[in-house]
């Protein structure tokens, strides 16, 4: 059995209006039916653009926001339905590392007080002396000096603050740590340090992570399984290598193609999918497939029927009606909403270096793109992963 199982989780925020009496005039569908499983000892990466609901999902797992529907089962206990009193003691097993390292630390508490507060609330350590001993151990583990205890958050650097945030989660010995954009507020050089620290801690302490991020390189580096979110639902879920080698959903393909390649020759030749328009409002999501308004391959069926997340082989799940057709090239991108710049292996460099043109490409070229896309994105992912490992 998986450590964490989400089944049809929905988080809807009511939109209220009215001066004296609140009237619900609609809902923001922040998370709209997500099911996923996180295995013990593994890392589940959740990616998606801003506003797709990934942070809300993370908070829903901790029940920092109330779950409208569905279940969040950690080790047999449904967090979503736990009464307030039991929830408080249960929270020890679920911890969170926040995006903003400074904002998530109380500026008027010193590090000892920040770290021991949770321990005291859960009765870990008989007295303050015992707790201090335990905190010292954890501080050493996350790479902070022992004299940090009496200092205040503003006296630390960004990377150190994030280490404090990680230590705060660790002192409670949780089963699952949710990392909400753990490195996006940090410098690139510090990002690698913190990512590596998270990996080392996972190895030495057997931790399970749910990592929420928008940085594809970070997520690939750290995750075993990756879920791609779009407008409150999962569009694709696959083991990390499989996802990067062969993204199946049009949205994932667009995301992957947006990662620049350091090699200029590859950069010019590779396939690029440019999405037009913005993320639709989660208060008024489009009918059918959530992505059809921006999908270059959209068909009439897409606006009518919402695709389910189905297995396309090898644990690679995708929510798209036309996965196979897109992959083998029988379905071609159309419409002026999006532009696919096909990979042009033979084209002279001067011409392909131009900015993408808004016109839709010819169907012949697009059919070709189906074959070459896999290799192109493989190059992308190779280079990206190298990028990360150099930072170690």
């Amino acid at each position: 059995m998986s450590l964490l199982e989400l089944d049809g989780v929905k988080v809807h925020f009511p939109v209220k209006k009215g001066i004296l009496f609140d009237r619900t005039v609609g809902h923001v569908y922040a998370v709209d039916g997500i099911s996923l499983k996180v295995e013990a000892g593994q890392t589940y990466g959740l990616v998606g653009e801003s506003g797709c609901g990934k942070t809300t999902l993370g908070r829903a797992v901790l029940r920092l926001v109330d779950v409208t529907d569905g279940s969040v089962v950690l080790d047999g206990t449904d967090v979503a339905k736990l009464p307030e009193k039991e929830l408080r003691s249960f929270r020890r097993r679920l911890q969170m590392v926040f995006q903003d390292p400074l904002g998530s630390l109380n500026p008027r508490q010193n590090i000892e007080s920040i770290l021991s507060e949770g321990m005291a609330a859960h009765g870990i350590g008989a007295n303050q002396e015992e707790r201090r001993e335990r905190i010292r151990e954890i501080l050493a583990k996350v790479g902070l000096p022992a004299n940090a205890l009496s200092r205040y958050p503003h006296e630390f650097s960004g990377g150190q603050r994030q280490r404090i945030g990680i230590a705060r989660a660790l002192v409670l010995e949780p089963d699952l740590i949710i990392c909400d954009e753990p490195v996006s507020a940090l410098d690139v050089s510090i990002q690698a340090q913190v990512i590596n620290l998270l990996e080392e801690l996972q190895e030495s302490m057997g931790l399970t992570y749910l990592v929420i991020a928008h940085d594809l390189a970070v997520v690939r580096h750290i995750s075993d399984v990756i879920g791609v979110m779009y407008l409150g639902s999962l569009v694709e879920e696959a083991p990390s290598d499989s996802l990067y080698e062969e993204p199946l959903h049009p949205y994932t393909r667009a995301l992957m193609s947006a990662v620049p390649v350091p090699d200029p020759e590859v950069e010019e030749r590779r396939e690029r999918i440019l999405l037009h328009g913005d993320l639709p409002s989660p208060a008024n999501p489009p009918a059918g497939c959530r992505f059809h308004t921006r999908c270059p391959w959209a068909q009439p069926k897409c606006s009518e029927e919402r695709p389910e997340l189905t297995d396309a082989g090898g644990g690679h799940k995708v929510a798209c009606h036309f996965t196979r057709e897109i992959q083998d090239g029988t379905l071609t991108p159309a419409g002026s909403d999006a532009v696919v710049i096909p990979a042009q292996a033979e084209a002279p460099a001067e011409e392909t270096a131009k900015e993408p043109e808004p016109a839709a490409p010819e169907s012949g070229e697009a059919a070709e793109s189906g074959d070459t896309s896999a290799t192109a994105s493989e190059d992308v992912s190779e280079d990206v992963s190298e990028d990360v490992s150099e930072d170690k």
């Binding site: 908070r59 901790l62 920092l64 408080r88 003691s89 249960f90 929270r91 020890r92 679920l94 911890q95 969170m96 926040f98 995006q99 903003d100 904002g103 998530s104 630390l105 109380n106 500026p107 008027r108 508490q109 010193n110 590090i111 507060e117 949770g118 609330a121 859960h122 050493a140 583990k141 790479g143 902070l144 000096p145 022992a146 004299n147 940090a148 009496s150 200092r151 205040y152 503003h154 006296e155 945030g165 705060r168 409670l172 340090q193 620290l197 080392e200 170690k392």
Partner: protein, 319 residues
Amino acid sequence: MSLTTTASKIDRLAQLTARTETASGASLWREAMRRMRASKMAIIGAVIIAGFVLLAVIGPWIAPYSPTDQTWRGEVFSNRGEFVGARAENWFGLDHLGRDLFSRMLVGARQTLLVGVVSMLIGLLIGAFVGIVSGAAVTLGGKTGRRIDDAIMRVTDILLALPSLLLAVSVAAVMGQSLTTVMIAVGVVQIPVFARLLRGSMLAQGGSDYVLAARSLGIRKRRIVLTQILPNSLSPVIVQATLSLATAIIEAAALSYLGLGNPDPAVPEWGVMLSAAQRFFDNEPMMSMYPAVGIVITALGFTLLGEAMREALDPKLRG
């Protein structure tokens, strides 16, 4: 790089920094104090206030004459416009009843300070209490809490909508004429200001990430409100308290000036003195100048200190 070498490097760095810094970290309050000491505005404000408080404490003992005895009654004829200005005997001259103005200023400082401090405290304590109740209700109480907060805030809105002096005059008029009335009246005016300020500050802090973090740690909500949200919400209130001391003194003076202050004219108070002197402004402008300048300088001192505190406590300006 392995973890152990990283850790040893960090420890080495910590040893080096420990030599230049004290072992314990600097809390925000301590750092704010350090910034205050470096601020000219704060120093000028503090010096003015210290002088004023000193006068208020020792004034009655160093006053050269009695503030109430009409010793030079025979030299002043207000109906004929004959006044005595500053002279060697009486440094600030005499008032319209032949009393020594310098002595009256010295003794009056105490009353003025008392009115300012007491009315500020009335506003601060009641206002902060209302603010905490309201802020805590929103943070803790779900729907019922929001209702309680709504009810409290509508009442403070009504109080805020009334012009402050008008409100003070109404309170003073209802309660009759006395110094206590002035203090209460001026204090009541400040209650909604403090309540709103603290509630707003608590609400803003309630949405911050560290509160979320505390919740996810499984800490009780009541404890979060008291140990996390409240201490972080206090700085604007402290600043407002200093600033409102200035307005309280001015408003108390205004009430005295309108004749709603201390009914016993023998007890000197700067506002009452200003009120009395105003009748003779055409003949003897200096008589009203002393209490007026006194009030202005005192208010200025509190305002300067308050502004300096605001800057020192603002986390965005932390360098």
